[in-house]
């Protein structure tokens, strides 16, 4: 019997018993829904994280640090102790690198802290304050929408000026032009010279709660560790130049710290790749757990379909007898029931795909989590549906195909 015929027959049988069919489909439906939804969310996170990290960190920039700022997974006690023993990145280290690197790069010393920014009676709490060099704005891709960035000259003389993020401007200067006004941080006044373009949010957190001041201001005292800096920001023109710059910086710093050939680096380079690694680990765990969850629903779905098909074979014994009498071979009967089971499961899988996509959109719409439907997951979902249906159909179909035609014709 041609496949098309068998599928049409199966769909017809499905349609005439909608409620029963629905219940038999539910297992596969849930499994595939789950698959699509989780993959979509993880995939969405992937795209989102990659975009955000490249925007925030930049694929062509890196940071020279004492130890990684973003730890992934569990850091052993021993590792921690090794990190704590490392010398700080000092201003002298930074100066040495800035002067010594031949690869064309932009550099900025960088220290960060959190504090309250005050203006008269108003205050903006928990603002991330960065003390840095003038090139930080280019490294971070910050566009100034109002006013200007501070200059290298201002950094050199330690001018107490500040460039604020959009949210800080909104909190303190509602409807008022902030330029030229003074805000207070840790008791010291800073004159606002610029406001950075709105950055938006990442995973529901605002990226506009920041202020940037010259490295040489009072803020250095409470943002930098004693006698050191948090990190040296380095940006190259492109990824290849950045790799070269990392190599060069490594050579310079090893030489300056007089590390022998067998000694490990006692400093660290952080790139967007390294930062993304953390997310990748989470994604890996989610993807590892997913097959289990999907498998359980599919196995249950398969058993339900097998049961339904066994019932169908019992109910339709007479039909099988008629078909055999008219010349259906074993494999014709086998094919009929396997195709019917597969069709049942595939319909379930298709509804699952639709529901999964819908669920992904709901998540995207109502939670900070992003979602992007992965085409391969749709293909996989439908494929799994067909596979589960066929597998579940084999036993009932084989039972049907072995029925004795005389006995089967006698059935009522």
């Amino acid at each position: 019997m041609p496949l098309f015929e068998a599928v049409r027959l199966a769909l017809h049988a499905l349609w005439t018993q909608k409620l029963k069919s629905f219940f038999s489909l539910v297992g596969v439906l849930i499994g595939v829904t789950f698959l699509i939804a989780v993959v979509s969310i993880v995939q969405g996170m992937n795209v989102y994280m990659t975009d955000q990290f490249t925007r925030l960190v930049g694929m062509n920039s890196f940071q020279v640090r004492r130890f990684p700022g973003i730890q992934t997974g569990n850091v052993s006690e021993e590792q921690w102790r090794e990190w704590r023993r490392r010398p700080l990145i000092t201003e002298a280290d930074a100066a040495y690198l800035m002067a010594g690197m031949r690869t064309p790069v932009l550099t900025s010393r960088n220290c960060q802290g959190r504090t309250v920014v005050r203006l008269g009676g108003k205050e903006a709490p928990d603002i991330g304050v960065t003390a840095a060099d003038a090139s930080i704005f280019r490294i971070k891709n910050y566009d100034i929408v109002n006013g200007r960035a501070f200059s290298a000259q201002e950094v050199r003389v330690g001018a107490h000026v500040v460039v604020i993020g959009d949210l800080v401007a909104e909190r303190l200067f509602e409807g008022v032009d902030p330029l030229g006004r003074s805000v207070t941080m840790q008791g010291i006044p800073y004159r606002v010279v610029g406001v950075v373009d709105k950055q938006g949010t990442m995973l529901g957190m605002s990226l506009d709660k920041f202020a940037i001041v010259p490295f040489t201001t009072h803020a250095q005292r409470w943002t930098c560790p004693h006698n050191g800096i948090r990190q040296l920001e380095v940006q190259a023109a492109d990824v290849i130049t950045m790799r070269a710059a990392i190599d060069e910086a490594e050579t310079l710093l090893r030489a300056r710290r007089q590390l022998g050939p067998t000694e490990e680096n006692n400093f660290d380079f952080q790139t967007a790749d390294a930062a993304l690694e953390g997310w990748n680990k989470i994604a890996t765990i989610l993807f590892a757990a997913l097959p289990g969850l999907v498998a359980i629903s599919l196995v249950v779905g398969g058993i339900v379909i097998m049961n339904i098909m066994l019932m169908a074979v019992a109910e339709r014994t007479k039909e099988i007898g008629i078909r055999k009498a008219l010349g259906a071979k074993r494999r014709d009967i086998m094919a009929q029931f396997v195709v019917e089971a597969a069709t049942l499961a595939t319909v379930g899988a298709i509804f699952g795909v639709v529901l999964g996509i819908a669920l992904a959109f709901v998540v995207k719409r109502y939670t900070p989590l992003p979602a992007a439907v992965a085409p391969w997951s749709i293909g996989l979902g439908v494929f799994l549906g067909v596979a589960v249906g066929m597998t579940a159909g084999i036993l009932p179909a084989s039972r049907a195909s072995k029925l004795d035609p005389i006995e089967a014709l006698r059935a009522e």
């Binding site: 005439t16 009498a325 008219l326 035609p405 014709l409």
Partner: protein, 234 residues
């Protein structure tokens, strides 16, 4: 006209019923020629259903030979028998045995589906088979929308659609009223006149007398085999 369609030699069929061995057929030999019109009669328990199942290739004998159109079907595998049923046998069952959810046309097409014919040819053949039994205007009706006589004619059309060697009817008038039964028998008479080999299995003498030859079974053996003097078809 003289060519044998069916040749049976010493056919034995036994069943194990619990601990008892039931001998349904104990050595039946017979020959049926092309375009014969034969009635097989006998009381219940005489083995006529068993013989019908064997003639229809739904079953195989424990001993003896069965040659159908020069092929020995008594030793065939299940799938080979399915192919023979599909090509050589047209069944008309007592209870019609139509698929309830399929239309008349789809029911008639079914043997052609298993013969592997493409959809276009299938429909053409099925339409002409339905026209032959006078149901050209009921093709899209389902069995429950038709009378008993009409259903039986759909079943006959289905039996004929593959141009089988034998039309094998099991109590074809078992259910319908006498008017319908006359109608059905007219169809068989017409088909026989057109050259079809027809075998009726029945317990009703007035149905059997439509045939040209009557074979009576008793206790699993042929009790009599005679030409029917007052046959309508003779």
């Amino acid at each position: 006209m003289t060519e044998a369609v069916i040749q049976m030699r010493e056919m034995v069929r036994e069943y194990q019923m619990g601990t008892e061995l039931v001998q349904a057929l104990r050595g039946v030999s017979l020959e049926i020629r092309r375009n014969e019109y034969v009635a097989i009669m006998g009381p219940s328990g005489s083995g006529k259903s068993t013989l019908m199942n064997l003639i229809g290739c739904l079953d195989t004998p424990n001993a003896g030979e069965y040659w159908l159109n020069d092929q020995e079907v008594s030793r065939m595998s299940d799938d080979a028998l399915a192919r023979i049923r599909n090509r050589e046998i047209g069944f008309v069952f007592q209870t019609f045995n139509l698929l309830p959810r399929a239309t008349a046309l789809q029911n008639v097409e079914l043997p052609l589906v298993y013969a592997g014919m493409n959809a276009g040819d299938r429909t053409e053949r099925a339409v002409s088979a339905l026209a032959r039994v006078g149901l050209g205007n009921r093709m899209d009706h389902r069995p429950n929308e038709m009378s008993g006589g009409q259903r039986q004619r759909v079943a006959i059309a289905r039996a004929l659609v593959n141009a089988p060697s034998i039309l094998l009817a099991d109590e074809p008038t078992g259910n319908p009223d006498s008017v319908t039964s006359a109608e059905i028998m007219r169809v068989f008479g017409k088909l026989h006149a057109e050259g079809q080999t027809v075998i009726l299995v029945t317990h009703e003498p007035d149905i059997a007398q439509h045939a040209a030859r009557t074979i009576v079974l008793r206790d699993g053996q042929v009790a009599s085999d005679s030409a029917n003097p007052c046959s309508v078809a003779a």
